[in-house]
């Protein structure tokens, strides 16, 4: 029994250490680095979502950028309306409206009534999480009821995200098109204004990350975590034990979409803009890269992966020595991780802690 106990205490210690460092950082960083690390933490939340659906349920979604982007847009719409001169109608609609249109949200351009509920910031924040979940539920229901698995899921989600991006760019009078939404007010809750460069946003993001990780850990150590592991290993066997495997996959798919939406919302707070480029394929792929670098089946690994990759990417592109070659540094990091650390950074951390027992078949995951 002691081997399992040793493993559990080591994991808890790793989590405590990680979050201790994260919460202590703002005291050592200037306001720019506080904001930058806050953005990295937003990416970590995304990586946790991917690690959950991919690492624990075997669902690799290459369209997570869509849910992230929608989360960002929902809050951005609320924050746009919160800016005084955007009332009653946001500037982007004034510029694109027909000369004789009524200057009211209901009918200035076709579809502008959709903006009305976003007058309340609370609605924007809730929608940032609920809308991605609803979209994921719709797509997930059709996909999993048809028992789509493996690379088909990845390609369908990829195509779905591309459709989302195209539609947003194409409806400029409604969404601001390719430029997205800038000119946003700061989030204000109960009189307290969140300054993107101050520690307030940093702790909001760090706290959310902690909450997301804790809820996910609790879920994974509860029965559902066990069922998910079973589903990932042998879907048919789980089915013959009476489990509706599709519902479990759907739940995780929606849960990680909600996490992506939440991360998107926090991105809007730290970067103060939302643009369709968040839904691009390259961004969705980089999310998968962060989770993979960190070690797919570990939430902490995903966080570390996201922080490390973004940190190396930023620092390499800024230091004069690496500037002309920073994509090579990044590309080299990915190849290094896959060849030398098959289980990602988490694999290394586990090796260092010295888990007893034969090293798990290194990286041999049988993919359906």
């Amino acid at each position: 029994m002691d081997e399992r106990m040793k493993h559990r205490t080591a994991t808890i210690a790793a989590y405590l250490l990680f979050f201790a460092v994260i919460f202590a950082l703002p005291f050592f960083l200037n306001s720019f680095w506080t904001n930058r690390v806050a953005t990295y933490l937003v990416y970590s939340i995304c990586a946790v979502g991917i690690s959950l659906s991919w690492g624990y349920a075997g669902i690799l979604s290459l369209g997570q950028g869509l849910f992230f982007g929608i989360g960002a847009y929902m809050l951005a719409m609320s924050l746009t309306l919160a800016v005084p001169e955007n009332n009653p109608v946001p500037e982007l609609m004034l510029l694109n409206m027909q000369p004789d249109a009524v200057r009211d949200l209901c009918c200035v351009t076709p579809g502008s009534f959709l903006w009305i509920p976003f007058r309340s910031v609370a609605f924007g924040m809730i929608a940032a999480i609920v809308v991605p979940c609803v979209l994921a539920a719709g797509l997930g229901y059709v996909m999993f009821k048809r028992r789509t698995t493996g690379v088909y899921v990845s390609i369908i989600t990829l195509a779905f995200a591309l459709i989302g991006q195209l539609l947003i760019i194409n409806n400029q009078p409604l969404t601001g098109g390719f430029n997205g939404l800038a000119n946003l007010a700061w989030l204000e809750i109960g009189g307290f204004e969140f300054d993107p460069y101050g520690p307030s946003i940093y702790y909001l993001v760090a706290g959310t990350l902690l909450a997301v990780v804790l809820v996910s850990r609790a879920m994974l150590s509860a029965r559902i975590g066990q069922v998910l592991k079973a589903v990932r290993e042998d879907e048919a066997r789980a089915r013959y034990l009476g489990y509706d495997v599709e519902n479990y996959k759907l739940f995780i798919f929606c849960f990680s979409a909600g996490i992506a939406g939440l991360a998107g919302m926090l991105f809007t707070l730290t970067a103060e803009f939302a643009s369709p480029s968040l839904m691009a394929t390259s961004f969705s792929i980089s999310m998968v890269i962060w989770a993979a670098t960190g070690g797919r089946a570990s939430l902490l690994g995903a966080c570390i992966g996201a922080l490390l990759v973004n940190f190396v990417g930023s620092v390499a592109s800024e230091s004069p020595a690496f500037q002309p070659v920073w994509p090579i540094v990044l590309g080299g990091l990915f190849v290094f991780v896959v060849l030398v650390m098959p289980n990602g950074i988490a694999g290394i951390v586990k090796d260092l802690i010295g888990r007893s027992g034969k090293a798990r078949a290194v990286g041999q995951e049988v993919y359906p």
Binding site: M1, R223, G225, Q226, A230, E233, Y240, G242
Partner: protein, 266 residues
């Protein structure tokens, strides 16, 4: 209800109780080739039925049909008065049909205890398991079924470290902990030592009272140990049904299996 009454069976087998599991005119074709043709089957509650037949006789396909893995081209499957044709594997499993596969399919990366916990959990919906805390020690039920299949000692060992025989028993234990009404077993004794085979036979006989068991088997020695009624399948259809003695003297069976290893060394 009238569908149940007019079922016709080739051999007159004393019908003790209302059949718990019934297949009517069950047929399935793969690109035209009828793997199973017009099979009528009625299993009584608590009966231990064995299905024998040469390779390719359609035994495994029949089992796949019963547990919902494959949808029949024609015909129906009834569980007591409920038509369970095509309601999906999970629903069939939940209505009381446990299936053990030929090659032991268990969750190898998980421990024996975890395997049993997944199997014995009857509240299968997502939200029921969301924050339901996982005990680290087996419940009485799990301990009992582990003890019954001789796995109590290895309860915390990873499934991938078990021997072949132990894996078969683990899968059997998992099926049992689903507390199924009917247990479908696909060659449970395959690849086992003589001692293990005897223990399995003993286990199945012990089961017969409380559960209905349907076994597919080749090894006539093992069949002889455990069964009362045998159904012989040949090229997708039911050739004959009856006790071991009747089967061996049935001319159609002998002709179909002249010299085949399956029956001759009975």
């Amino acid at each position: 209800m009238n569908a149940v009454a007019n079922v016709s069976r080739p051999a007159a087998v004393p019908m003790a109780a209302m059949p718990i599991l019934q297949a009517k005119k069950l047929t399935v074709r793969f690109d035209g080739f009828p793997a199973v043709r017009d099979v009528d089957l009625a299993i009584a509650d608590g009966e231990l039925r064995v299905i024998i037949g040469a390779n390719g006789a359609g035994k495994s396909t029949l089992l796949d049909l019963l547990c919902g893995k494959i949808l029949p081209s024609e015909g129906e499957i009834w569980l007591r008065e409920r038509n369970i044709t095509g309601i999906g594997e999970a629903a069939i499993a939940r209505s009381g049909l446990g299936r053990k596969f030929q090659t032991p399919t268990v969750f190898k990366e998980m421990t024996v205890l975890e395997n049993l916990q997944v199997a014995s959990n009857r509240r299968v919906r997502v939200f029921e398991n969301l924050f339901d805390w996982l005990p680290s020690r087996p419940s009485d039920k799990e301990a009992a079924v582990a003890e019954r299949t001789g796995l109590l000692g290895a309860i915390n060992r990873r499934a991938s470290e078990l021997s072949h025989g132990q894996l078969q028993w683990l899968e059997l234990a998992m099926v049992l902990s689903q507390d199924p009404k009917i247990v479908l077993l696909d060659e449970p004794a395959a690849g086992m030592t003589a001692a293990e085979t005897d223990k399995t036979a003993e286990l199945l006989l012990d089961l017969a009272g409380s559960h209905t068991v349907l076994v597919i088997e080749h090894d006539m020695a093992f069949v002889r140990l455990i069964c009362r009624t045998i159904t012989v399948m040949h090229q997708g259809a039911v050739l004959a049904e009856g006790t071991a003695a009747e089967i061996e003297h049935n001319p159609a069976v002998i002709e179909a299996y002249l010299g085949s290893a399956g029956l001759s060394h009975a």
